[in-house]
Assembly symmetry: C2
Homo-oligomer: 334 residues x 2
């Protein structure tokens, strides 16, 4: 072996070792899903590759509920709204005998779970609007610091999927701007997105209401949250919201339900390299199993329906099996 | 002189020289306005300074028309709309005899200038909506590359104020995210903001219409621009738009008319260091003179009124005199 070949060999070993030591997705098992992510990032960031994407165009969007963190059995924002009802009734005692607040105050979990969508909307309007944006932000922040999921007995903000946190970091380390595009409330998610996901508020697109500019008694301006919808960031609204708030088509999009269908279709309709992925909830032991892989009932809103699963296969979107693709689900456990 | 003092002296000289050589605002004359900008940046980026602002919170917002580029005598987006009318009439010949399109087609400049706001809105709706976002973007890009301002005989996109371009760069070099917050169309400004100001589309907040998600005959999804307003980004709408699109209160805001008043008030109402500046158009020779300093008529929409000028004085906002504070107005000339 000549010295030159030896040197080349050693460099190769060293760089392979470095790559191995630096596996950007250590919580992922080897397989099609992990491979799709790694190949997408490598090809779009290698300037000699025909799939190269210039840095300003590196946009990746992520649904939150069920894609970045647990959405089952109830969205955490709905729990926030229900948890706010006692304070609301204290401030407005006349609501104590008015439905749906009466049912919520009864503490009857079965009755609460059966409230129709119209009642849920009444609770959402009453607990998410009518206060200043600063007041809302302070309340939501306080809640997130103390409220706990009953199964894991941890703050909801700890129930993020470790493998997806690694995807966020891996994309950002390669020049991608990561966005949350959620059906959840934009103002709600923005209160914790930076701390929980490293995603700043200006990179959160969500269901958004109007605000109203006004002045307090000292002439200081403030914004009040109004019960008027500006963006319903679900289904077609996700593609429309991406145009409104970002103005560029993403090169990668991650979702888990029919509410994400149009976002993935819109992403896939662009030229060049595009990565579309769906998280399949098939791990009843470590998280939950619901949707097409199980025959079990979907969650109330935004289901990963059989039709979406079929579309994913047809269009070459990658389905992530939580059970098979993820070594661990949460940072704190298995 | 001991060695320690000598070393200290040399370091001082060296760093002064470096600062001098690197004047970040070479097109600005020394004065209160330049001083306010430099002191704001230095104090908010020095970690030992009580006015320090952590990098994620460094947000600066800029009105466009009259603040970053020429708005007189007519907004360039209105010229775009008028320039689009012939193609519109060609596609829909029945419009040739319908007002206000008939007047626009006549080429009678005086009559066009007298069109009431309702007619201007009709022209805007007809030329800015009803096509896909990609079609609109292509048309607007083509127009910006060829249309010229009659006074300077240059593309409108060259009529940006060199001193403000320096402020944008200076802020960005110090970790600020710079945003355009404009009454102009968000989709319109986004077609050139990156090229002209170094501001990416996702950092342009503007007057925005709804879009509608749909599929073409090949099943490919696209978005159509709808004649439905989502955000009127003027006056109170600028503060509301900043909350919707950015979700953080700016630490610096720049404007020039009453349309920017609430943005500056909202910025100034935050804690810690805040910089509020207004561009005064008092340079009839190199640009235009209008507004309170002149007694001359304001532009049609969004005037820098005497009341705003008085509020600026009262609240300690800094007024930038184009005549006195700016060494040169444009990159291409004096």
């Amino acid at each position: 072996m000549t010295r030159r070949i030896l040197t080349g060999f050693l460099v190769l070993v060293a760089s392979s070792t470095r790559l191995w030591a630096q596996d950007p997705l250590p919580s992922w098992n080897d397989g099609a899903a992990k491979k799709a992510i790694v190949e997408f990032v490598q090809s779009t960031t290698t300037s000699s590759n025909p799939k190269f994407v210039p840095p300003p165009e590196r946009i990746a969007t992520f649904d939150q509920d069920g894609t970045l963190w647990v959405e089952h059995p109830v969205y955490s924002q709905l729990i926030y709204c229900l948890d706010r009802v006692p304070a609301l009734v204290k401030a407005k005692p006349e609501l104590a005998n008015v439905e749906p607040f009466k049912t919520v105050m009864s503490g009857d979990r079965e009755a609460i779970a059966k409230l129709p969508m119209g009642d849920i909307e009444k609770i959402a309007v009453a607990t998410l609007t009518g206060m200043s944006v600063d007041e809302f932000s302070a309340e939501a922040t306080k809640w997130a610091a103390s409220a706990k999921d009953p199964r894991w007995k941890r703050p909801y903000t700890e129930l993020t999927y470790q493998p997806m946190q690694e995807v966020l970091k891996f994309l950002r380390a390669n020049g991608y701007k990561t966005y949350i595009v959620t059906g959840g409330g934009q103002d709600f998610v923005r209160t914790y997105s930076e701390r929980v996901y490293g995603i700043p508020p200006e990179q959160v697109v969500g269901t958004a209401g109007a605000t109203k500019f006004g002045y307090d008694e000292n002439g200081r301006p403030f914004l009040t949250k109004e019960p008027k919808l500006v963006l319903n960031d679900n289904n077609a609204g996700k593609a429309e919201g991406i145009h409104l708030m970002i103005g560029r088509r993403p090169h990668a999009a991650f979702g888990n339900t029919a509410g994400d269908q149009q976002m993935l279709e819109y992403t896939g309709a662009g030229d060049g390299a595009r990565l579309m992925m769906l998280v399949l909830h098939d791990d009843a032991k470590r998280e939950y199993a619901y949707g097409p892989a199980t025959g079990l009932p979907d969650t109330k809103v935004g289901t990963f329906s059989q039709a979406l699963y079929d579309e994913a296969k047809k269009k070459g979107w990658t389905v992530i099996s939580m059970k098979n693709d993820w070594k661990k689900i949460f940072a704190f456990g298995d």
